[in-house]
Structures are given as C-alpha cells and as structure tokens.
Subunit: 321 residues, 2 copies
Amino acid sequence: MQEFSVIDTYFKQYASQRKDVLAGIGDDAALSIVPAGQALVTTTDTLVSGIHFLADADPHAIAQKAVAVNLSDLAAMGAEPAWISLSLSVPEADEQWLAAFARGLQEITHYYSIQLIGGDTVKGPLSVTITAQGFVPPEQALLRSKAKPGDFVYVTGTLGDAGLGLDFLRGNLSVPDEDNASYILRRLHYPTPRLLVGSSLRRVANACIDISDGLVADLAHILKASNCGATIHVDKLPLSRAMRESVDAEQAAQYALGAGDDYELLFTVNEEQKGKLETALTNTNVVYTCIGQLTGITNKLELRQQNNPVKYAVTGYQHFS
Amino acid sequence: MQEFSVIDTYFKQYASQRKDVLAGIGDDAALSIVPAGQALVTTTDTLVSGIHFLADADPHAIAQKAVAVNLSDLAAMGAEPAWISLSLSVPEADEQWLAAFARGLQEITHYYSIQLIGGDTVKGPLSVTITAQGFVPPEQALLRSKAKPGDFVYVTGTLGDAGLGLDFLRGNLSVPDEDNASYILRRLHYPTPRLLVGSSLRRVANACIDISDGLVADLAHILKASNCGATIHVDKLPLSRAMRESVDAEQAAQYALGAGDDYELLFTVNEEQKGKLETALTNTNVVYTCIGQLTGITNKLELRQQNNPVKYAVTGYQHFS
C-alpha cells in the first residue's frame, strides 16, 4: 500500500474546501488562516481497535466517532470547528473498508463545514487519530478552571446511553424493543458533538467539559481545576426513555453517573447568568438539565437522592478491553 | 493505566511554557495565539512500531524522531515551529519506557523552543502520532507547486545515510569503523529537521520538500505538483564519509537516490535568486549542493553521470516490515 495513493484515492477527493485554507492535502503541511482576534483551539484524540471500538466495527461509524469526539472537545471550549488532520493506521489496504471510512469522514466534515487539511496513512494495527482545530475569542473560551462555588451544574441531553449501548452490544443486557436498541447503539456509535451549545455558552457558563469518561470522572476534573466541590442530585440526572425502560432506577443512576462516551456537555452557571441560559440555548434545540450546585469544599462530591445523601460505587468508564 | 496519570506524570511537568499558549495540557483542548500576519502551518505524522522503528528501539530516540519528522515538514514549508500535540499508544504503562520517552520529548521541545500543548495516551499497539503547528507569512510559504523549468535543484546535507544505517542495523552490511557506524545510526535515529534552512529559503527558493521517502520519490512530488521535469547528476549527489567508506560508488548512488528517512531539504532556486542563496544560508551552517536542474518536460526525470544519461533501478524507501 502506498500512502500517497490511499490519501489521493480516498481522502483528497472528498476534502471540502474552506476559504481559510490556503493549502490542504498535498504539500508537506497545511496552510490556513486563523481569523483576527480569535485564539486557535487544538485537540487530539485517538481511537484504537479493540479498545475504543470493536475490530469489526463499521468503518463509517469509526470515522464519524473519531471526528465527533474531537469536535466535542472543541465544543467544551466554546470553540467553532474549522479543520481536522487524520492519522490512520490500517493493517492492509482494504478498499471497501477505506471507502466506507472515507465516506463517514466526508459526511461529518461536510455537515460541520470543516475541512480535512492533512494526514498520514500508515500500515499498522487499526487506529485513528484526529487532530481538530477551531477558534474562539480568547477571553470567551470555556475553561475547566473558572467554576465558582454556588454555580449551578448543568448537563445537556441524557446520560449513560452510550454505556447502556456498550453493555447491550456485549450481550450483557436486553432492551425491551427495537427502537430502544437502535437508539442506544446510535448514541454509542454516532455521538453528537454539542458544538452549538458550546459556542452559545460563551458568555454564560463559567466552566465547561465534555462527558467522555463519565459524569463523576469529568465533574471531578472541573472540581479539581476550580478548587470546588459539588452536590449532585441523582434523581435529577436526565435519563432517556431507552434507559428508563431497560434498567431499574439504581442501574440507571449507575450508568448516568459512571458511564462514559456520551459526549454531552457538563457546564456551570452562576446565579446571575442563570436567566440568560434559556435565551442562549433556545436555538440549539438541545435539552439541558440542572443537576446540582457547586460548593466551596474542594474535590468533595456529595450525591443526593430526594435531597438525602446517598452512596454509589461509581465504576467509571470501561473500555472494550 | 489511567490516561490522566500518564499525562500528568510524564508530560505535563516537562511541558515548556511559551507566551503564545493561553491553555496547554489540562483542559479539553489547547488555546494558543497565531501571530498577526502569519498563516498557521499544520502537519501530522505517525511512527508505528515494527514499521518505522523496531519494537525494542530506544524510547528516547522514538520520541525525538517522531517530533523531528514533523518539524521537518514545517521546515519544508519555510515555517517556524511553535506547538506540538502527542497521541501515544502504548501496550502497557512501562514507567522506565515512558520516562525515557518523556525525556526525549522534553529535550527536543526545549531545543526548538516549542511547547507540547496537548495529547492523548491510549492503551494499544505501540505507535506515536505527532501533530506539529507553526507559522509562516502566507505569501512566503514554500510550496511544492511553485518550481519552474530552469530552476536549479539543491539538497542540504548528505543523502542516503539513514538508509545505510537501517541496512547496517539489519545486519545487511558492515561499515569499516565505529565512527561511521555511530554516525549512520545517529542519522537514522536522530534526524535533524532543517528548520533554519527552511525559514532562510523563504524569499529565495521557488519550491521545497523534505526527503522522507527518498530523493527520487520526493523530487517526483515537486515535478508533479509543478508540471516540470528534472535532470539530476548522480555524480554530484552529496555523500558522507561513512557512505563513501562503506559501499562502492554504485551502491552509494542507490542509497542517495532511493533511500528515505534522511529529512534533508530538496529545493529549487531560479537563476536570478541563485546569488542570494549563499547569503541566505551562511548562518545555518548547513552544507547544500546543486545536484541538477529542472526542465519543462513534465514528470520526466533524467539521471546523468559525467553528463551522460544513466539508468538506476531505484527501489525507493523500504520500511522495517
């Protein structure tokens, strides 16, 4: 397999064109222009076969998820996405696989108006690394470190669905109907980066993170970076119909607290800004839920049910392996 | 192995600090500032164990080479390097290995005053992906496509040394003394990105590429992108003492024409700019050699020896596998 023919055949032809890209695929490096007054936002994430997806996973979904998880990191900074680079390691030049992967990549780059500006294709064990770049006005970037005691804690969407989907895929549980099954598998394989929510939160939220490792684990990052604690109401965690119909309330809470791969946003908003939230997020059509409040007790997370302290052994996100 | 502890323990503490980085490792994404009037230059390269390096290779060298090959791509654009992101896939959390890798990374980022701004550590087969970012004034970027018939063709340094080193490492040849052996292994394991040459060529060279796949293969990229041909004088190819003392003239030419991994720059300069070249490159302390001239016959490469046409079966770059 020649690296060049793979890039030419499958990726170069699909690359959508942005005006801010002066040179994309086909030179030693890409040349692009960051708009005046904006900071560059850069993130890298790798998905490895057998760890982040099963070896026989649909290449269309692998491509889309590899891009989506990176866009989710940009969303968590309040950034607007612009360009991605791809490093693809494949054991062999399987034309059908590559064509489906390229199609997945093309669809998601087209959907978000981003451009694939470069990459490297190597022979090796199957894995996908995406580097995503975007912009945000530097003073409006959403950091993990700017949360304050008293802030209300919000999450978008529903929690735990991807983890439920993973256990369903593994044969560890059954779900009552086809619709629920297809919903949770879609949540697992095709996560939605909350880009519009992220950029809409720019002047509203104090801190933001995307939930990739699970609510408790990712909230802990904000608590640590901001020297805060939190009280989270387990009975307020937003659950999907599929979740409610597939497992009991205790299991649902476990998924919502501990499962990763949901790529919903977790953000904090102070009392003053709370009123702005509805206006800011109306056009995003994304559900959001207040699940608790920050405290001044650094790194202390208190879980409550009907406002009484409650204990959960949160296992955290488990990869495939 | 927890991704976070690996990043915290080995990489975050080593990260040098640049003033243009507003947020580095530790948030969802990095925030940095591209200077006004400069284009962003981005490149990604992956090194896979067993393909680009042997499984038991020195992690210090792996880290340095992974960064160097990316900086070489920036050099070939005439860019100044600024930031790198790392995606590291390792089968296990081997502390000694990670510490040596981190030390190699720290040394090269320190040497080039660049900052590690983010990354992802995953469990998987050993491979390293680096994304490097830098700047160049957009109108001064060195592209593959701007070469013109009549341009003189130059290369930096000496050619074929890394390929010679690889064959020595494989036990396919012997070299006459220890010095030569250590020189060619160093050329293989610790390539030098020609950053100063690249930026010095900004207003001098018409086109530039780095030699990663071999002189003939990489020259072909310029010929294709610029619709040119070339006449290359095989007897003018710059050879190291180690090359001259280890193999005969015909073998040396094979290495110089076909072997990859040298990361020297190949560039073209027109008659008018030729005079500026010496001034431009004096401070770089890098040897450069005129090896031929471009023609108007698209994609036609003619090799000459003592100015007579000569044929070589150039095999091109062979990876470890």
